[in-house]
Amino acid sequence: MKTDSTFEKLAWPVGFGLLVLVLWEIGVRVFGISPAILPAPSAILAAMAGSLPILWEDWVQTVVKGALNGLWMGSLAALVVALVIDRFDFLKRGLMPVANFFAALPIVGLAPIMVMWFGFDWQSKAAVVAVMVFFPMLVNILGGLAAVDPMQRDLMRTYGASHVQTLRKLRGPAALPFVFNGLKIATSLALIGAIVAEYFGSPIRGMGFRITTEMGRLATDMVWAEIVVSAVTGTALYGLVAGIEKRVTFWHPSQRGS
């Protein structure tokens, strides 16, 4: 089996993406598809270039204010709760199944309720996102804290390490791969939550708001422009988390050897 060179790792997916774009452009032109149904990539690009201030304003409203605020609130809350639960075995046994169950629920359904509670602005979006990311983060952090094998824990005990010391030097680092795993899930959930919550009411800016209103007046190129922005944002956030993971958990088997 040949090994993959860095060039190949980049060239194939990028080439595939470009191929799709070219076929799309040709297809739209050849078949004369109405721009209200499917605009050509060039038209989408033109729409993006023509409305940068609007896209920027929507991005700040939805991603920075809604998604990122919710993301840090939810993750921080999950971290605090996880550290508390971790100290009490009874709580751990009781909350783990409940949290696991909640993590599988369509929590995004809370969006209309959060809008009712916190109003139309970004606070309600951040609240939806915080609740959505809380359970996957909690489950992953708790799973990570339990990932240390008993031998290592015993070793820490023979060193006379306190709970906090064990946490800082052994269990914390060991939990990091799980935390990053949770963060990867959480970033994509955060964008979904922030956008869906805007369907239930928002000030006159935001990506979800823009998508619904522009769709309503068949300005499909603008909808696609927002999709491109959200796709790039989602991928960039994921890449950011993966990049930090690579630097912080360089010692983990999954990060070595590639």
Binding site: W12, I37, V98, A104, L191, I192, A231
Partner: protein, 289 residues
């Protein structure tokens, strides 16, 4: 079985907190009403009133239970207000999307495992696909499938559900199909087995445990996808649509009932698929866990 007591304790505590929060959050309205009427509210009056408002900020658990009972058992199944009717539509979307998701997941995994170019090309895009917020794409999917002449909302909703549910299957199947080690592959080579034989007789059977393990995650994702689809395609039927309607008409009880119906349905689905997974593992000669 040492989990039951702690789980029940945690649930009981959650319910107590819920009641307390309901009293606290709904009290504003009660005090407001009392002030307008020029009366004082005693604590017991406060508690009874906050438990029985028709448009509470946070309904008490028993109110939701009553609402659910009314909309499931006491309503005819054919009624638009029946949660069973709405749930069945969401369920249909979920299962359709789940089915699509499994097929797409397995197909992509097969390409990825069998071809080096396929792996290099598709794997990054599969990961990227999950970082794109599907809700942004939802209106476009509706428009495109309408243009393709599908007619109903069911197809776009199922596509959205499939978009979320194919990924767990894909990841597990890639792992599973590449789980046979070099020794086993070499053995088949000495038998003179063709690529096809290796796939059908070695790779596919050894991927099955991975496949069944991914189903539970996948069905949960499909369900979330179905609800998200109903929320974001302005559907008129389904549990997500009930949430929309409750929000638009200012009827919080409908929202809460739909939310809980969704939670119960998700629980049933995950339980059933989990049972199926155990059964499959047992039939394949694994230990019943």
């Amino acid at each position: 079985m040492n989990k039951i007591v702690p789980v029940l304790t945690v649930l009981a505590v959650l319910i107590v907190i819920w009641y307390a929060a309901a009293v606290k959050m709904n009290s504003t309205w009660t005090f407001d009403q009392a002030e307008r009427a020029g009366t004082e509210v005693s604590f017991s009056e406060l508690v009874t009133d906050t438990m029985s408002q028709t448009r509470p900020l946070l309904p008490a658990p028993h109110q939701i239970a009553t609402e659910l009972w009314k909309t499931t058992v006491e309503k005819k199944i054919t009624s638009k207000r029946s949660m069973i009717y709405q749930g069945s539509i969401t369920l249909k979307t979920t299962l359709l999307g789940f089915g699509f998701g499994i097929v797409i997941g397995i197909a992509l995994a097969t390409v990825i495992v069998l071809s080096r170019v396929g792996r290099l090309t598709l794997m990054p895009w599969a990961i990227i696909s999950q970082t794109i917020p599907i809700v942004a794409l939802a209106p476009i999917i509706v428009v495109l499938s309408n243009a393709a002449g599908t007619g109903t909302l069911m197809v776009p909703k199922a596509i959205i559900a499939a978009y979320l549910s194919f990924y767990p299957v894909l990841v597990s199947m890639v792992k599973g199909l590449s789980s046979p080690d070099q020794m086993q592959l070499d053995l088949l080579k000495t038998y003179g087995a063709s690529q096809r034989d290796v796939f059908w007789k070695l790779r596919l059977p050894s991927s099955m445990p991975y496949f069944f393990a991914s189903l539970k995650v996948s069905v949960a994702a499909a369900f979330v996808g179905a609800v998200v689809a109903e929320l974001s395609t302005s559907a008129i039927a389904g549990l997500g649509a009930r949430m929309l309607i409750g929000s638009q008409f200012g009827e919080p009880m409908i929202m809460w009932a739909a939310l809980f119906a969704a939670a119960i349905l998700a629980a049933i689905l995950i339980f059933l698929v989990g049972g199926f997974e155990k059964l499959a593992r047992y039939m394949m000669g694994g230990r019943a866990v």
